[in-house]
């Protein structure tokens, strides 16, 4: 495990931070929201593609830079600072990883290259209930002559409203609740029988409900081994959790910085409110949590690149810790800003709204506390 960035990684971080600051500030998300774009932002996608952010985890032969998770973490954190609504997590982390790890040469050439180049975006269609529970998938994929027919529904698919390609997890064997018997399918958005219902989400990043009614796909659209999707899904979900943890860390850091600045400018009773000890101690405790969460995220990122044995453990640690962190910080951000923090014109609310989505996706704090304890054997 290494906590020190290489020069290349530092450069990538600086590029990402500058890009987020200049091209995707919070005001950009606000503008998208007020314009009713609901998280769809093709213009920014192109810029992100030019920067190669979608290819960071993709081998060079398929158009990526194979830069690794530590690098991707720097991007995610930068995007998190400004609450940027992008396809990087879905396409650059999840889609790219699934195809890299499980795709056939042909699938990689036809799909992975497009994802790496940002021409195509993908979304993982996994959860069917309101809480993250991979093994609970009930959507059925029935074998027929020339492939499979899928029937079922997916709830709140992040990036589902803008995805060109869906990575659909369906059951080819066994019962909901069983990890074995799941299979991954590549389903383009225009496939017959697939309908996408875009959602107005609280964080203005958008998402979609999917319904699959007799969606037919050929053999070539099976990704990885039949019945064994979990073998690749597990490590890729951990990458998603770690990347999301990095994004969450960035959001918490930005909200905290914004609050600190307010504490050092707002006056009441003739004093800077930041000079009141009760607020000082709460700020110091948040800073403590921030620093500790930062360590967890950094450790998890580098563990992936080093194929460490404890990636799952560190993923749950990073996801749970950053979830607790952003929960606390987003609440304190509104509280310490007082009335102004309650107004829609102020950014506090946007950080809090995105925070709850960051907390919930791919398992909330209690999901990961439970998982961490299981991995520790109690």
């Amino acid at each position: 495990m290494t906590f020190v960035l290489t020069e290349d990684q530092e450069m990538l971080r600086d590029t990402a931070e500058a890009f987020a600051r200049d091209e995707l500030p919070v005001s950009h998300l606000r503008a998208l929201r007020d314009g009713g774009a609901n998280g769809a932002d093709p213009a920014s996608r192109e810029k992100l593609a030019e920067l190669g952010f979608f290819g960071v985890l993709v081998p060079e032969e398929f158009g990526g830079s194979d830069f690794g998770m530590v690098g991707m973490g720097q991007i995610m954190e930068a995007l998190g600072r400004t609450l940027a609504a992008t396809d990087v997590l879905q396409t650059g982390v999840i889609g790219a990883s699934l195809l890299t790890l499980a795709g056939t040469q042909e699938q990689k050439e036809s799909w992975l290259t497009k994802l790496a180049g940002g021409e195509f975006t993908s979304a993982l269609a996994l959860d069917e209930g309101a809480h993250h529970a991979p093994a609970q998938v009930a959507t059925e994929a029935e074998r027929d002559g020339q492939g499979y027919t899928l029937n079922g529904a997916k709830r709140y698919v992040p990036g589902g409203h803008t995805a060109d390609l869906f990575l659909v997890v369906a059951r080819t064997f066994g019962q909901p609740g069983e990890a074995h018997g799941l299979t991954l399918f590549l389903v383009p958005k225009d496939t017959e029988g697939l309908s996408v219902q875009a959602l107005n989400t609280v964080d203005s990043h958008g998402a979609a409900h999917l319904s699959l009614d007799g969606v037919h796909v050929g053999e070539a659209h099976v990704l990885g081994d039949v019945d064994k999707a979990m073998d690749v899904l597990d490590p890729v979900l951990d990458r998603a959790r770690i990347a999301l943890a990095a994004e969450t860390l960035g959001s918490a850091q930005a909200a905290f910085d914004m609050t600190l600045e307010y504490l050092n400018t707002r006056r009441q009773f003739g004093q800077l409110i930041g000079s009141f000890q009760a607020l000082q101690h709460r700020a110091a405790q948040m800073f403590t949590d921030l620093e500790m969460s930062r360590s967890c995220v950094a450790a998890a990122l580098s563990a992936v690149d080093q194929n460490a044995a404890n990636v799952a453990e560190l993923a749950s640690l990073a996801k749970a810790k950053t979830a607790e962190l952003v929960h606390l910080v987003s609440n304190e951000t509104v509280q310490m800003h007082g009335g102004i923090g309650m107004t829609d014109d102020h950014d506090s609310g946007l950080y809090m709204k995105r925070a709850r989505v960051q907390e919930a996706l791919y398992g909330g704090a209690s999901f990961h506390r439970d998982r961490y304890a299981r991995l520790q054997g109690f």
Binding site: D127, G129, A130, H131, R155, Y156, Q197, A198, L199, N200, T201, V202, D203, S204, A207, H209, R267, Q268, F269, G270, F276, A278, L279, H327, N331, V334, Q335, G338, G339, I340, G341, M342, T343, D344, D345, S348, G349, M352, K353, R356, V357, E359, A360, G364, A365, S366, F367, R369, D370
Partner: protein, 404 residues
């Protein structure tokens, strides 16, 4: 004597009961609909015509303000009689005929601090719901530190000229008149504040609704540019507004910690434990499968139970004539904490169903819960922040000192 009093009361109850029987329309005995609340004033539309009738009849007897002096149009009832009226109204589930900041806040203060002429001028229209009032207190630079307010009132001989800005002015865009704190002297902080009232249709007054993180709200930003206020609209003495303001805040706070936190009552929103059962499921013994979330929901439910028992305790002890200031001092702080925790658990238990904003694809009740969650963040800010509450408990109740 005591006997007479008692018998008088009984005959009063008799009359009241009969009068209500005859005069309270049937539809006014059904649970109040938000859409049918009567705030009065020039913009009142009376979506239900019965509510107009009901208001007029009650106002006629002065029973919209039962204990206010009859000479100003009040009911002139004794406390005991007022209690009887209240009981009799509750008995037939009669709706309150009028919601009004005039009745709850300004009126009582005016009766205490206003001159006779002012009472004659303003009280009757409050009683009859003809004038709708709003409160001009907080300013962008004066939140917790209300006395730091900067809205200026210059003495122009026959009138005052008002310039400045108020914020968090509830229903300023609906109100006819405003009662307002202004600075008439910059020499002393508290002793430089005056209490004035004026017409919201005066030239130079502008009210802009405030959008909250939870969506639209009754709050406004209110701007005053060279607003002329005749001198007879000053309440109390020049620079003597602060005591009036503080008195009035008591009315406001009590109304907040009493009613302010019903939150999701009647909204069709279930408790977090119900959503947890629905969305996460239970083990063979019927416990919510997520032990961690279950534990936190239990913490909250225990806290909520302890809170309601504390409200009950202070009420009973107050009735018994015991000093309950200490106990009461914690209620606003605890209520905010409880209500916020409840909403956090609600949206956590709802999972992604609790992460919608509007439109298709989300259950309307869940959407309400999500808006309620966002709105609840204001509970620890409005009407005195939790930080101020804790300061007050530490200093006034626990007797801890200031830095020397």
């Amino acid at each position: 004597m005591a006997y007479d009093e008692a018998s008088d009361l009984e005959s009063f109850r008799e009359e009241t009961r009969n009068w209500l029987e005859e005069n309270c329309p049937a539809s006014m005995r059904t649970p109040m609909k938000d859409s049918e609340i009567v705030w009065g004033g020039s913009r009142e539309t009376f979506t239900n015509p019965d509510s107009k009738l009901w208001l007029e009849r009650m106002a006629e007897k002065g029973w919209t303000a039962p204990t206010w002096p009859a000479e100003y149009g009040g009911g002139g009832l004794s406390k005991a009689q007022a209690r009887v009226l209240e009981q009799e109204m509750r008995r037939i589930r009669a709706r309150p005929p009028l919601f009004s900041f005039g009745l709850w806040m300004f009126g009582p203060a005016l009766l205490e601090f206003g001159n006779d002429e002012q009472k004659k001028r303003f009280i009757p229209d409050i009683v009859h719901g003809k004038t709708r009032w709003c409160q001009g207190y907080s300013e962008p630079g004066a939140g917790s530190d209300l006395a730091g307010l900067q809205t200026k009132a210059e003495d122009k001989g026959d009138h005052y000229l008002i310039n400045g800005q108020k914020v968090w002015t509830s229903y300023a865009d609906q109100a006819d008149w405003i009662f307002c704190l202004v600075r008439t002297s910059s020499e002393k902080k508290h002793e430089g504040i005056s209490f004035m009232v004026f017409d919201m249709s005066s030239e130079g007054v502008e009210a802009r609704p405030i959008k909250l993180i939870s969506g639209s709200s009754p709050f406004c930003e209110t701007f005053f540019t060279d607003v002329k206020v005749p001198k007879d609209q000053l309440i109390g003495q020049v620079n003597g507004g602060w005591p009036i303001a503080k008195r009035l805040l008591q009315f406001e706070r009590s109304s907040i910690s009493a009613g302010g936190f019903g939150g999701t009552g009647g909204s069709g929103i279930l408790g977090p434990e119900e959503y947890a059962k629905q969305h996460i499921g239970t083990d063979e013994t019927g416990r919510v499968a997520d032990g961690d979330l279950r534990g936190r929901i239990t913490d909250h439910k225990m806290y909520a139970k302890a809170f309601s028992l504390t409200v009950q305790r202070s009420t009973e002890q107050a009735k018994a004539g015991q000093e309950v200031g200490h106990t009461a001092s914690i209620l606003k702080y605890a209520a905010a904490k409880m209500n916020q925790e409840r909403h956090e658990l609600l949206i956590e238990a709802l999972g992604t169903d609790g992460l919608g904003w509007d439109g298709e694809g989300f259950d309307p009740t869940a959407l309400k819960a999500t808006r309620g969650w966002l709105r609840s963040k204001g509970n620890s800010i409005e009407g005195g922040t939790s930080e101020i509450n804790l300061n007050v408990i530490a200093k006034r109740v626990l007797g801890l000192r200031e830095h020397q």
